[in-house]
Symmetry: C2
Subunit: 456 residues, 2 copies
Amino acid sequence: MQPIKILLEEKDMPDKWYNIQADLKVPMPPPLHPGTRQPVGPQDLAPLFPMGLIQQEMSQDRWIEIPDEVRDVYTMWRPSPLYRARRLEKALDTPAHIYYKWEGVSPPGSHKPNTAVAQAYYNKQEGIKRIATETGAGQWGTALSFACNLFDLECMVYMVRISFDQKPYRKAIMEAYGAKCIPSPSPHTQAGRKILEQDPDTPGSLGIAISEAVEDAASRDDTHYSLGSVLNHVLLHQTIIGIEAERQLQKAGEALPDIVMGCFGGGSNFAGIAFPFMRYKLLGEKPDMRIVACEPTTCPTLTRGPYRYDFGDSVGMTPLMAMNTLGHGFVPAKIHAGGLRYHGAAPLASHLLAQGEMEAVAFHQLECFEAGVQFARSEGFVTAPETNHVIRGVINEALKCRESGEEKVIVFNCSGHGNFDMTAYQAYFSGQLEEHHFSEDQITQNMQALEGFPVP
Amino acid sequence: MQPIKILLEEKDMPDKWYNIQADLKVPMPPPLHPGTRQPVGPQDLAPLFPMGLIQQEMSQDRWIEIPDEVRDVYTMWRPSPLYRARRLEKALDTPAHIYYKWEGVSPPGSHKPNTAVAQAYYNKQEGIKRIATETGAGQWGTALSFACNLFDLECMVYMVRISFDQKPYRKAIMEAYGAKCIPSPSPHTQAGRKILEQDPDTPGSLGIAISEAVEDAASRDDTHYSLGSVLNHVLLHQTIIGIEAERQLQKAGEALPDIVMGCFGGGSNFAGIAFPFMRYKLLGEKPDMRIVACEPTTCPTLTRGPYRYDFGDSVGMTPLMAMNTLGHGFVPAKIHAGGLRYHGAAPLASHLLAQGEMEAVAFHQLECFEAGVQFARSEGFVTAPETNHVIRGVINEALKCRESGEEKVIVFNCSGHGNFDMTAYQAYFSGQLEEHHFSEDQITQNMQALEGFPVP
């Protein structure tokens, strides 16, 4: 019997997050104030975020201590197991060693609570009583609801109406954690009321939901705003995944991995697994390590989007960030991987891509579901549509190893389960899952809106 | 930071199941042939089950070795974690030490694969190519689909039509594992066609689905039938839960528990946690240990059903078993805990109840959801409606400890997650969850059908 799970005891859980900003060869271009176009300072962000998070957003320290209160909550599911995918290796007849971090063990079922818990903690510390956020498919809203409940904070989730209607169970699980979840656009905000007046039957959009959550937070002293990806501090909190994985690989007797992979939407689960390993690449200890982000062809931010200053939201309320972007007006196709439908990308990941430290690859929806089903039938876990993108990428790399005979070590982040996404699998099995196409024209058009913006 | 998860390494996973038949003070009444009323022999069961399982069904050996091939699959999620429910204890302000085995980590999300994997293995060994089964809410069908896929067996699931229509994602996850799932009654069987002729719009029932699966298996040489609870060999396979829990409690520095609890439908998850501990009670090492089964008031098999010989199915095709029963014609109310809606009870559990070795208690649906929500808000995991019954029982016992000041050790089986049951939570939060009532008259009437049957 060969072991397949590599576990860590709670006492061996990391006590620091890893901040890759400390090891960048070239510093990142700073975020700019949308009005003045000058670098934003801590005070610019204070109406929306607690100072604890703003400091992390800007910190150049390599290691940042995880507060005991956050670690206490992490132990509810962390350290998460690292699996050796022996059954998948066998099914692929590959000499590659495939390992995955299984983040589906968290109560909300994904990697998202790694940052939700930290964000709730720092807000609580600062005396905040309530957090507002937006959610698309519901993964993030669920995680923040879970975290707020544990720190006795109110949680208000604006959920894109079309998803709210299609996935009523997402509202139910947020309510199980004591949160309030309403469809967006809503009559609760000026932004929402304006849209509803124009079109009472609108399906809503993530851009609108962000506007509502930001307006909600900005208009109340007791409330802050929270984001589930993209920002530096969010990526920082996810690095516990990779730090654990490194320790677990050592326990399994492996050297540093040859390839590290994650699916890519805003960039947080990718950075979580990748950055702690990328450190060894940046420091020259393993210069040929490949770090690969897997994204959808219909929202090809890293593979097709130019590296530009752009807004983080659709409406243009946020600072300008230097990132790969399809343009803040980009409307992605309705693929089932709701978590990967974002016009931009984490500035940190975009910077590292521009520096040549990582790669990106894009996959079609159908080939990702095919990979997800192959994974379920070998490894047992039915994964989220987002996660299926990295599984597609890993299977492709493992098949290349079969051709070349190379015993490469591949590590990936298996970011969450698909228990709330079975309608997507249902569509796949009934042959009704559509393949969507991406038109380059959209980018050209969207880039016109960025004319005159600074160039990083 | 106090530890909350007690883990075992794969190498410390039990290599034997525990057969409580070896330690019974009084032997069980045997199952009887429905025609001859004589004890059934191995050959009577051979058309439906492989000899490996039939031997286990009748074995008097205390320890039965778990085949390596089964242990290999178990490591996909086992040993499962034992949690100390510190947050729940704090919320209840109780001196009790509450521990739970978390079986929701299995890929299908419940304890069911512990037996599904073993059953698939022994069928494969005997050259069987295909297994037919029934499923109500879908928990069992999902687990058997998962197991059959791993042993390269075809799996055919007859799913009660009303559940099939209400929960399409259950079909999708079974398909993800390569199984076929069709609504019952179906045109595939004589039994199904007959019912459809009489009523084309019938919602179906578990009794009908069992008849279809048994007919399917009996009519094909390459096919066997599989049951997810009730039978001795099914309970046997689940004992790995309690054996692991015992080792984990030792690791946590606890003596034997004072109270062991599980929710109760057919009895398999209950027996899984309870029987290995009950051994110490039967052997006199801890005679005051309390073993408590928690069932719904609307299907109060153990608390109200007499101990009688009755059929295992509604139609009367199975052997007669000595068990607590509400009568095989019993039609339970449509509570959301679909896994607890069975007219009978495991003969082993019924026998132990009759011998005074265990207790049973019944709870209403609403108080169980209330307990489940309290659990989710303290421990994080949103549990299945079935599991909420034991959580209700545990909370009540822990509150008694608060009154008495006793530091009792309570262990329970947290049998599965509620990710596929969010419609039930949705009904609960919207105030639309109905309380159902049970009428004693039903039992009186059903018992008339048992007149002339032998009495155990």
